[in-house]
Symmetry: C2
Subunit: 457 residues, 2 copies
């Protein structure tokens, strides 16, 4: 690998900051009282003043009110809550242990959409599977009256691609085990850490399936189960989970804008999600994402309005299954959008951009690359990922998407765990991500011509 271009780029990073330019009077002010940057302040205050924001609960509603107040105070306009209704699910008590061959308490947490155990819990033999494929290969009814344990071998990838593959054990595993008679499912957490903190996340039940109790154990507990299974001694586990589906509940999106100079041009949509899992304060998932797109919109506009409107979408209920993104597409499907982007991959630095623009926009992609290079960000063209919050609108309108890929090396150490807290955020990396999003937004929102997606989206 040729590292010379990156080294040169890092030198370039310093130059623009050294040359301080006073903002014109018309630009939104960027408050930075503690010197850690506006984005850090937003996520610090959100996690401290609101905390966890589980979808379709009063804490998510409190977060929406907080968001409206903060975005308004920051100078955004057309700040509004766009409500919708969805089915609620809430965690209850959760505890589990091995009872044989030795009593061992398990650190576990229910998966989103888990069913509950019978009153008093359940105790049953545990059957070990080293992955989803082994579970799939098990004969029908082989798990009758048993608890299935699904292991996985997820390892760190900078681009997060291991989540897609190994995450299937969580998304599909419980339903598959239920179809073979299992009365409950435990999985090794979908994660890359070795802490005693389990990772939650949704599991999916095909229509007509009755949810069974499904929980993730921490990596050290999964190691213990795997070691015990290797001895060949029978394992018995005990489980008590009391989650419940709470019926129709209010949720909602928060939308805000910085108006462009040309109201006829479709806006740039920059999204994140406001909801979090309930185990922690959702600092990196996705408080950081909302902080990034918000600070970036302000930073991109700091010398005056850009040509196009920048529209922020702080979506609701992403974790439970992209409800906010779907509601946005339903509400705004008839309005033109120029392009969509999203920040939902933590608080670390952007290392690569993927341009989903058509060859006709090659000049614009090149301009993006030049704007990002001083930050050490490489650019490629090709298939983009987007994200849950822009997925529905991008599909409905065949929108071009730009991916700014954040470094995922430590993301899945923290993702969906009790450990997703403010102290995990490195203010310097967070600010680099803001700088990258701001650079991209500025180029895109100042583009006067048509922005066209590459084939395949």
């Amino acid at each position: 690998m040729n590292r010379a271009p990156i080294a040169a780029a890092l030198l370039l990073v310093i130059a623009p900051q050294a040359a301080a330019r006073p903002a014109p009077a018309s630009a939104p002010a960027i408050p930075d009282p503690d010197g850690k940057g506006l984005a850090f302040r937003i996520v610090a205050d959100l996690t401290t003043e609101v905390g966890q924001r589980l979808a379709a609960t009063p804490r998510e509603a409190a977060a929406r009110d907080w968001a409206v107040a903060r975005l308004t105070a920051l100078g955004f306009v057309n700040v509004r809550i766009e409500p919708y209704t969805m089915s609620g699910w809430e965690r209850g008590e959760e505890r589990g242990s091995l009872t044989a061959p030795a009593p061992q308490k398990l650190a576990l947490t229910a998966l989103g959409n888990s069913g509950a155990t019978p009153p008093g819990g359940l105790t049953a033999p545990l059957v070990y599977f080293d992955g989803l494929a082994a579970l799939k290969a098990t004969p029908a009814n082989a798990l009758a009256g048993r608890i299935a344990f699904i292991d996985n071998a997820m390892k760190v990838t900078q681009d997060g691609s291991s989540y897609g593959q190994f995450g299937a054990a969580r998304r599909q595993g419980p339903a598959i085990a239920a179809s073979k008679g299992a009365i409950a499912v435990l999985i090794r957490s979908i994660g890359t850490d070795h802490n005693r903190d389990p990772h939650t996340g949704v599991t999916n039940w095909p229509a007509g399936t009755t949810p069974i109790p499904a929980a993730a154990v921490s990596a050290p507990d999964a190691d213990l189960i795997a070691r015990t299974a290797r001895t060949g001694r029978p394992i018995v586990a005990s489980l008590q989970l009391t989650p419940k589906f709470t019926g129709d509940q209010p949720s909602g999106n928060v939308v805000a804008e910085i108006l462009g100079r040309d109201p006829k041009l479709p806006p740039i949509l920059a999204a994140c999600h406001l909801d979090s899992w309930d185990l922690a304060t959702g600092a990196i998932d996705d408080g950081a994402g909302c902080a990034i797109v918000t600070a970036a919109a302000l930073q991109a506009s700091q010398h005056g309005p850009l040509l196009r409107t920048i529209r922020l979408l702080w979506a609701g209920a992403e974790e439970r299954g992209g409800f906010g993104g779907a509601a946005y597409a339903k509400a705004h499907g008839n309005e033109p959008h120029a392009l969509a982007m999203e920040a939902d991959f933590g608080a670390d630095r952007v290392w690569k951009a993927v341009s989903g623009l058509a060859p006709a926009n090659a000049a614009l992609t090149e301009k993006l690359g030049l704007a990002l290079a001083p930050l050490g960000v490489v650019i490629t063209s090709g298939q983009t990922e987007g994200g849950s919050d822009i997925e529905a609108i991008a599909a409905a309108q065949h929108l071009p998407v730009i991916d700014l890929m954040q470094d995922g090396t430590r993301y899945f150490d923290l993702h969906h765990t009790p450990d997703d807290t403010l102290d995990k955020i490195d203010p310097a990396q967070l600010q680099q991500a803001v700088d990258a999003y701001a650079a991209a937004v500025k180029v895109l929102a100042d583009e006067p011509g048509p922005i066209t997606p590459v084939n395949g989206r």
Copy 2:
């Protein structure tokens, strides 16, 4: 710093292993089925087959039985349980949260010897103290009806000295707060990690004090409380803890020996503790220590018995306050001992030795230094620390002590947390610690002359 001697030493480490020598028929065999070393196997099996071993509970008793079977199988002689009785304490339910200014769930755990909350829990204003000194400076009765929160600024030290100083907030803080009227105490965990795992450990109540509820919150939760306190907004916390004192319960030590060639010479005592806290499987505290002294005793003797007997003490109930060490001193106070050493500081490598031998034993100290140098271990002479399990016998008999100091850089990330599990052990570092203990034991147990403590012990 001159690094050359260490580099040379590292080269030397490899040489003895390359030159494999067959063990004489009389030497104990060192089993190593998985190639990770005997010590790793001992701690792996103890944590998998027994798990947590809270003092004065049936799980500590199960661990004693396991220890007798394993030590016997390894060829130790005079393997025995030496029972004693002590007051039991067991953890119950534990949960807590901030209820104002925003609802925030706290990751917390009761301190050992904590009192219980009233049925239904308690809710009260929380008063923030940035350390023990601030708490001490508060006027009498200033905390009536309140919950005291004691912060601390513990940072990493290789020698673990920060634990002594900052640990006072846990050991003494709750009793001081109670004396000023507090109805409960929360402390920032005495630790150096940023995980959402609280650190337990004993707190002490002066005679006549009624224990109040006392718990540690994880570092991220302590950060949240500190951030909230800085805003000046009133904080209210809610707490539910149901620990109980269980009265007189059986505990015990496990003792085992490798007999020396000269039965008239007093033995070398090598100690660790078998009990653990109940939150995890006690892999580093102190499964690793027992594994180290045990594997080291065998390794030192692998070419035949040494001059002196090596006596292992796997002490009970260290965590609750050194009950096993005290019981050993009571039972064996009339028998001569040559010297005492202990392993109770995790599973990482030994970096320094402190010789507590008198100037008259300068030649023996030099011999120790030469034996340890190939492992990169420096040696100094001076005041030794010993450890809880040898403290009573060493004091009673004015015994010489050798400290083999393990690297404590990451020890207090894990110490007394749910995260003290097998996956945290690096087999290579653990084996280096075994090699260091074995080298020291071999030199000391082959010393025919008197071994004399330095003045001051």
